[in-house]
């Protein structure tokens, strides 16, 4: 079968692909479609603007209890005794759970100790204060640089079990632990780097720092657990209903059929709500103990301390190149800290973005006494890009090349080449002057940076499509909507297949009683579930055609569904209304469940794997800034974001998501930092007034261009956008700052103090 292939506007051709059995014929380009690729309104928009939609924090089953977790205020302590007797006697208390035991080590401020469920939140909070914890303080370390020293306090003693299974990102099991440093991980190294540097004509090097960023979902982590004799129902603010069901069944030794996980609306996740988590287990245990539903919702401090974070990093990058710009060697040494956890690596970005025969990686996890890191929007690649894309900008300067010209020479991706071309025109790149050329105290600059992210697919993703006798259509899947609008996109896919309008389609998602959906992390929701939905709809349609063909005096092959009708031989005048056709169905409903096929074209993946497709996703972002060299303050004046996600399904929703990625990137670049006090080991800004997020007044004009990039890889050919849109923002801003002031800021967040230090007007921080 022939599929459209290439970038719209830059020449779309065709490609021959083998379609697996039972998959629908190729979709034409968006221009030839009626619903897919159109700016369709969000289906749950009305429910969200009226406050009618129920988030997990709003769920209230009858008899619900309220829970709270008692957390350590010490960064490292050994428990000697926990006394919960007084809490148990407190009025209103229904369950008390000791999580830590005697001799447990509370390894970070915020580590859970015990939990209480009571009839009101106030009663639960009051009971917590009656729990007596006797613990011996242990030496601690909360600074990554100090933790690397030979005499540093140890977070894990030699021989202690490391928390390797608590991350979503695959980590090698067998790396050496020296003091607090685990590594080096060298996976992905290739070629001979020494040789590469020996033949290099130009070498650039630099050290970069990124700081810990917390997710700050506006809806806190939340779960309502209802344990009953006949099974467990859980409402959870989660990015993966099917995964949480799996975890619950395993942890509590239940059958999958006894566990139901639901999420209606979900107030942001960004990677932090991918798993059941300790708090999820606590809520279920409290419910089991109390014999009543239990609601556990984090407060804002808990969000910062114990819900995951983007690990901080220190990166040393060295790049060798020939005079024409071609790269001969890249070496990356990294130390990063995911607190008491692992997974701070950033190597993937430098490893995969540019053509270079020789690459060496040595990345290390440094343990400190702080809350565990986790995946956060573009994990690894976002901090990795901050360093690597500045190093490439440096290299362009050394070579006397325009940074876009250099990238044209070393970036093999035809997609990003087109993105650079479009972005350069849109951003007015030709206005860019020499670094620091502006006279006067306020200097302007333009910078560019690129992103790369796997075209991830989760093949263990299923969807049911049902047509009912009255012509109504249902889409059912466990897939959850984090705010990206996947429900709306599913309605579009199915409406397109049936020749209906998206508002004709009823979508029920976020419930494991429906076919298991994919996780919404790794930017793979759309890529994984939309092909399953289209295939299911197409199959239901075929079945419907077979049933109604005789009444129309036609063969099923002659029928098509368009504009609310089933027509014969592509003639809109011949046929019947969709509703009249379904009225003649033999049964009250026709229904098909389908799952995601492997990518077409031989890009094979085993079911359940999360793996990059051959063609990665990317994007190029251009930033324009002004820097006040007297105060050191940076103002982002404008961002142009050029992104790709295969076939764009809904430009309106995509634009929202890209703006969100850019804004989180601006926030990361200029504002966000978890600050831990050296002396007490406690986070000083575990709130939203001192942990700064970008606000409406710091928001510049953001122009979004999304490519239509057809690859013929699935029944919809659609991919994700969440993470690629976040990765390039901070380095684009940093490169613009360099262009403005002629001095490089190699440290996040780029605060006024950091800028003044780079200008030599204040002492450096580290």
């Amino acid at each position: 079968m022939r599929f459209p292939f290439g970038i719209a506007g830059a020449g779309v051709g065709e490609i021959e692909r083998q379609i697996p059995d039972g998959e629908p014929p190729p979709l034409p380009v968006n221009d030839a479609l009626r619903v897919i690729g159109k700016p369709v309104r969000r289906q749950d928009g009305r429910a969200k603007v009226t406050g009618a939609v129920r988030f997990t924090v709003d769920v209230k089953p009858p008899g619900m209890l309220h829970a709270r977790i008692l957390r350590s205020t010490s960064p490292n302590a050994r428990v000697r005794a926990i006394d919960t007797a007084a809490a148990e006697r407190q009025a209103g208390v229904r369950a008390v759970l000791a999580i830590a035991r005697n001799d447990s080590i509370l390894r970070y401020a915020g580590a859970p100790i015990a939990a209480v469920a009571a009839t009101t939140q106030a009663a639960a909070d009051a009971a917590l204060r009656l729990i007596r914890v006797d613990a011996a303080a242990l030496p601690f370390v909360v600074d990554m640089d100090i933790a690397r020293r030979a005499n540093a306090a140890l977070v894990y003693q030699p021989g202690e079990a490391l928390p390797l299974n608590a991350v979503e990102i695959p980590v090698s099991g067998a790396l050496p632990l020296t003091g607090n440093v685990r590594g080096p991980e060298t996976l992905g190294s290739r070629g001979d780097v020494e040789q590469g540097f020996a033949v290099a004509e130009v070498i650039v090097e630099g050290e970069y720092r990124t700081r810990t960023q917390t997710h700050c979902c506006m809806e806190p982590h939340a779960i309502v657990a209802d344990w009953r004799a006949d099974g467990l129902t859980v409402w959870m603010s989660t990015q993966f209903t099917a995964g949480v069901r799996r975890e619950l069944a395993r942890v509590f030794d239940l059958k999958l059929s006894q566990v139901r996980v639901k999420v209606a609306a979900m107030g942001g996740g960004f990677g932090s709500k991918s798993q059941l988590g300790v708090y999820g287990q606590i809520a279920v245990m409290l419910s089991r103990q109390a014999g009543a539903p239990v609601r556990l919702v984090f407060d804002r401090e808990e969000e910062h301390l114990d819900s995951g974070n983007r690990p901080e990093t220190w990166q040393q990058i060295r790049i060798g190149a020939h005079r024409d710009g071609t790269l001969s060697a890249i070496s990356l040494v990294e130390f990063g800290s995911a607190g008491v956890g692992v997974g701070a690596g950033v190597g993937n970005f430098a490893q995969t973005l540019y053509a270079c025969p020789n690459f060496s990686l040595a990345q290390n996890d440094v343990f400190i006494n702080a809350g565990r890191g986790s995946a956060m929007r573009g994990p690894g690649n976002t901090p990795g890009a901050f360093a690597m894309e500045q190093a490439i900008d440096d290299l362009a300067g050394q070579l006397g090349l325009d940074p876009l010209v250099l990238r044209d020479r070393i970036d093999p991706s035809p997609v990003r080449r087109e993105e650079r071309r479009l972005g350069a025109a849109k951003s007015g790149w030709d206005r860019r002057h020499a670094p620091g050329a502006d006279t006067g105290a306020t200097k302007r600059g333009i910078g560019v940076a690129q992103s790369i992210w796997g075209a991830n697919v989760y093949t263990n993703a299923s969807c049911e499509v049902r047509v009912l006798r009255d012509g109504s259509v249902l889409v059912l899947s466990g897939v959850q909507d984090l705010g990206t609008g996947i429900g709306t996109i599913l309605a579009q896919v199915v409406a397109e297949e049936f020749g209906l309008l998206p508002e004709d389609i009823t979508v029920h998602i976020g419930d494991t009683d429906f076919p298991a959906g994919p996780p919404s992390y790794g930017s793979q929701t759309t890529a994984s579930i939309t092909p399953a939905a289209r295939t299911a709809a197409w199959k239901v349609k075929q079945a419907l055609f077979r049933q109604v063909a005789p009444a129309l005096g036609a063969t099923p092959e002659q029928l098509a569904a368009r504009d609310g009708k089933i027509i014969i031989g592509n003639d809109p005048a011949r046929g019947m209304n969709f509703r009249d056709a379904t009225a003649g169905m033999r049964t009250d409903q026709l229904s098909v469940v389908e799952s995601r096929a492997d990518d077409y074209g031989g890009f094979r993946r085993r079911s359940g794997d999360m793996a990059g497709a051959v063609n990665d996703l990317g994007g190029v972002q251009f930033a324009e800034v002004s820097v006040d060299t007297e105060t050191g303050s940076i103002r982002v004046e404008r961002i142009v974001a050029v992104q790709d996600c295969g076939r764009p399904m809904n430009p309106k929703l995509i634009e929202s998501q890209v703006m969100g990625g850019v804004l989180m990137g601006i926030s990361y670049a200029l504002l966000e930092e978890r600050v831990i006090d050296q002396h007490t080991g406690r986070m000083m800004n575990a709130n939203l007034e001192q942990y700064k997020l970008v606000g409406p007044r710091d928001t510049p004009p953001i122009e979004v261009i999304v490519l239509e990039n057809y690859q013929g890889q699935s029944a919809t050919d659609a991919y994700g956008i969440a993470e690629p849109s976040n990765i390039a923002t901070a380095p684009a801003i940093a490169n613009a700052v360099f262009n403005a002031i002629g001095v490089r800021v190699r440290e996040l967040p780029m605060t006024p103090a950091t800028v003044l230090a780079a200008l030599g007007r204040l002492p450096r921080r580290s």
Binding site: V57, R129, G695
Partner: protein, 201 residues
């Protein structure tokens, strides 16, 4: 070792009274003390007390502990869960409702201090099935993603249009300053509000 500052009942009340005193300007300590003593409110609590609130045009009888914030009372006993809590301390504006038509953070106000003032929540903004123009515009311009900050955003934007029928983009930004949206909907929110402004004479 355990967190010591979970006492909503005492600390929040003292805190609110403290900020009130600070806001009233520079005063001699002694004067403040006398003034406070003169209109000292009756002592209520700690148990629940009956309270009448005017919410979305209806009088509501509720029984609340005096330590409860308006946000808690709306979301709990009144089951108006459209109002969201993001930080519970005045830093995110997710909990914004109207008090006599002016936007306030309902997490920073004790329910017992609302008195006879009219409370309007997101549930009370539409007229029956007819949405407020700001709500319509939020949908049309996709001024939201997850929707958690949305009720608060809508309340502040609708209040702005009541005050300033023809606002500039900067007016809109000022109106939602202090509202946090982690999904990054600010550009579309500004666009949405500008689309429903009424040009002046």
């Amino acid at each position: 070792m355990p967190n010591a500052d979970r006492t909503h009942s005492v600390t929040r009340r003292l805190f609110l009274r403290g900020t009130g005193a600070t806001a009233s300007g520079v005063a001699l300590l002694a004067d403040m003390h006398i003034a406070a003593a003169a209109d000292e409110p009756p002592i209520v609590g700690p148990g629940a007390i009956p309270l009448t609130l005017t919410v979305n045009g209806r009088n509501q009888e509720v029984s609340v502990e005096p330590c409860m914030t308006l946000a808690e009372v709306l979301r709990g006993p009144l089951d108006l869960t459209g109002t969201k809590i993001g930080c519970d301390r005045g830093a995110c504006s997710a909990c914004t409702v109207w008090l006599d038509g002016a936007p306030v953070a309902s997490c920073m106000l004790l329910a017992v201090d609302v008195g006879a003032r009219a409370v309007t929540t997101i549930e009370g903004l539409a007229h029956g099935d007819t949405l407020h123009p700001v709500q319509e515009a939020f949908i049309a311009h996709d001024a939201l993603q997850c929707g958690y900050c949305t009720p608060g955003m809508v309340m502040s934007c609708a209040a702005l249009l009541e005050r300033v029928p023809n606002p500039t983009a900067d007016d809109v930004r000022a109106a939602i300053d202090g509202h946090l949206c982690r999904c990054g909907a600010y550009p579309h929110i500004v666009e949405a509000v500008l689309a429903v402004r009424k040009p002046g004479p």
